[in-house]
Symmetry: C2
Amino acid sequence: MPSDIEIAQQAQMKKITEIAASLGLPADVVEQYGHYKAKLDMASLSTAQQNEIFSRPDGKLILVTAISPTPAGEGKTTTTVGLGDALNRIGKQAMICLREPCMGPVFGSKGGAAGGGYAQVVPMEDINLHFTGDFSAIAFAHNLLSSMIDNHIHQGNALGIDPSQVSWKRVMELNDRALRQVVIGLGGKANGQTREDGFDIVVASEVMAIFCLAENLNDLKQRLGNIVIGYSFEGQPITARDLKADGAMTVLLKNALKPNLVQTLEHTPAFIHGGPFANIAHGCNSVISTRLALKLAEYVVTEAGFGADLGAEKFIDIKCRKTGLRPDACVIVATIRALKYHGGVDVKDCSQENLVALKAGLVNLEKHVENITQHYGLHCIVSINQFTTDTEAEFAVVSECMASLGVKVVLAEHWASGGAGAERLANEVVKQIEANTSKLKYVYDDTDTLWEKMRKVATKIYGAADIAASRKIKTQIEKLQADGYGHYPICIAKTQSSFASDPTLSGAPTGHIVTIQQVRLCAGAEFIVMICDDMVTMPGLPKDPCATRIDIDADGKVVGIF
Amino acid sequence: MPSDIEIAQQAQMKKITEIAASLGLPADVVEQYGHYKAKLDMASLSTAQQNEIFSRPDGKLILVTAISPTPAGEGKTTTTVGLGDALNRIGKQAMICLREPCMGPVFGSKGGAAGGGYAQVVPMEDINLHFTGDFSAIAFAHNLLSSMIDNHIHQGNALGIDPSQVSWKRVMELNDRALRQVVIGLGGKANGQTREDGFDIVVASEVMAIFCLAENLNDLKQRLGNIVIGYSFEGQPITARDLKADGAMTVLLKNALKPNLVQTLEHTPAFIHGGPFANIAHGCNSVISTRLALKLAEYVVTEAGFGADLGAEKFIDIKCRKTGLRPDACVIVATIRALKYHGGVDVKDCSQENLVALKAGLVNLEKHVENITQHYGLHCIVSINQFTTDTEAEFAVVSECMASLGVKVVLAEHWASGGAGAERLANEVVKQIEANTSKLKYVYDDTDTLWEKMRKVATKIYGAADIAASRKIKTQIEKLQADGYGHYPICIAKTQSSFASDPTLSGAPTGHIVTIQQVRLCAGAEFIVMICDDMVTMPGLPKDPCATRIDIDADGKVVGIF
């Protein structure tokens, strides 16, 4: 089979104006970015046209999530794409909503993030590179605020900002470990106040989270203004609004906030908009694009980052809680290979039949299913991304186990066959939605204390015995509670590789303690980030980064992105 | 009169597809970025179509330059726009080529850079903000190389890069003085090697200069590969190619390299592409866009940054020397107000008639005229941007003075009246081009030593008595000469406010000494930067930055960019 980029480059794409027209959108709305990408400017419609669209009943929302990620690969994005294509093939009108890939990991070790095989969004290389510039705009807005903080201090510091209490760092859109911890403002008075600082990757920026949670431009501006950048010498919080940065930051994000429209290989319309990390942030595409998709399509397939303990939990406890959005069905993606990995098999041996390891590894899937059905209240379907090395006996083991929980398992072959390979999955999803058995629940209540919220997620979702924190962190949490932030949801940053905060604990560990190492107030995003163990918010490049293989060939074609 | 942004927002723009069609370009070439911006993908044409276009004779090239900038304002970009519009009005087929504005200064104190009054390029706010993302791509390519350097050192340093001899810094697309001098890699082994570093503003990046000098994608890749990032412990130069970064950097710039097409308020087609600083870099838009414009229009009006001592000198000694491009005429922009400022009048008094100061300040214009005619060999026309406070007596003084040098002076009113206000200028330019008296000369020869090149520019163009440098700098220059870089042109970074390197010396100082403070090898751009006095390559924000006034209004319209 050809490589992902070969398949993508050979695709016969439709003009993006055609894709927009297939959604019933007038041409004026379509701001083209080249022939195959567009931003949709709904504000260019008349009030009557806007009212017509936004008063329609919502389509059905399908959340695609997964078991805990392993090096053996799962395929959440390919399933989202394949399911969208399959729904269209079986006569439904569907579209998909994804996050934008971050360029940093594309040049590191992760490669692209636009699906794979015959279940991809295209133009693949554009989506993986600058796309429509949203992340650059977000990085610029973030760093403008950073610069205005240091400038304010340098120009007399009228607000009395304590340089040692500035928590607003800087960001870069790439993997750069040397920027994690830096000292800035060296070289004398003309270069400002010397202080410690650091860089996060842009997808970890609070601006990214705000961007993805904002309902509209005014809400965006309000939230940006609410960002707390640190504290004054008197201990008062200093906001972006105090620095008069909110207006300029909003202007920088004005175009970015319009949803990006592209297509799958089979011409299913796809919004790819916003891309917060699923650990340090909430891991879902923008609320604006999800809402619009629900007005334009009968079925909207979306995904949330990493496994169902991270992405799906935040999708529900943050995105749904704050917006009223409700998934009508949930698909949980697994592979036989990955389940064997969770059962203790080395990644290089995952292609061999191993029923014992498979049975052992199934606990990971079982725990995610339990979380989705019991704690999130959603009906779920398990989709197994088929590999040629999977055996019938192995599939039977998975089916049997799930049947005992009342959960249906479907084999999906969209990677090799496109939408046709996911028709069984599509039919099952439609059946479940029509049965209408999902009743969304949250893991915690708004009125729970921050500590209690963290404890509920850790014990219910992660299977932990309890949570722990140092005296210093506990005091910080108590201060946030006392300062009136107790009603915020929490956004937990922990490893995606395990239910526990130790990435080496595969399967479904229990009895572990989750330790909170850092707490961050995100007053603009309106959540409290709880960082567990040594979560890195700025990745490094590997020994042999993808960047050394990404190139143009003699014809000027891009090679080496996978 | 309404403000610049009000005029721009009220403009009745044509669709960019229409503007492209007016240049005879097929629709396939036009990659739209919204309705009013596009990139032109000439590679999408058939070989026959490409041959047809690129075998046409070149149009006429008009260089717009200026006296030494003052706070009283000159209006080089408005003249470029007004002249382009006026040429079309008098029945010629004209287009313009400009640099892209850098966002940093837009949020600092400079404001926008898309012309002004009724001589603007539009959509003004898009051009001043992210535009088509070129600068983000350039910043990313630059910083990817930075990250790969530190990663290489961290991962075993097979090339033996000396961390204390890495000269490749990082860049940001904004004004941020606190990043000028930093220490990176703090926090222990996992965060890489601790070392000194610093950030330049993106327009000072060598990648920006390379981007603007590259003839095509392959040339771009070669030049990126040639970048010298520093030296090994053995004193050997380390290149981007050694780090295998050149391919990925080229891929990041692939789309950016396509020229950006927009329009003036009067629908004159405009390429706005690339934007290197006119001090630390060479200050001209991309070679690719200038070449293409010359194939698409009879007359192409372009500008070079700052005064004729900086922008025009580099336009000729770097861009023309390296590409064979030749200006057919040169317009030098001045205002009566600015000339009075050069004569010693405070900026707040520049609106009052003052013939004595005007006569004193005329020396600045005279020296620039001498440089253009005698040292660059170009015929020049002086264009006076009219202010309502200018008097007839003042204009007469300027005309008389210039007449004695055989130079024509034209009053231009495009700021208030659009292209109609620059028709006299347009007619004069056409007359001069038809007379064909320009014979381009370079200020120095390729075979001159680097020191001699610097001395020739300083003594001939700046009126200096001589140049000077410390022992250390002299040794560096000698090493570059010995290492085989002596045939490169030089790119001088000095203040734009004076012929001297002291910004307070207005008029036309003579007898001064120009001191070289820093030397930088740009082996990709193929020039040697000579930094004189304390040139800042990362600006700071002012006490009251524009960013605090840039905002969206209740209707979501951008306000506060001027």
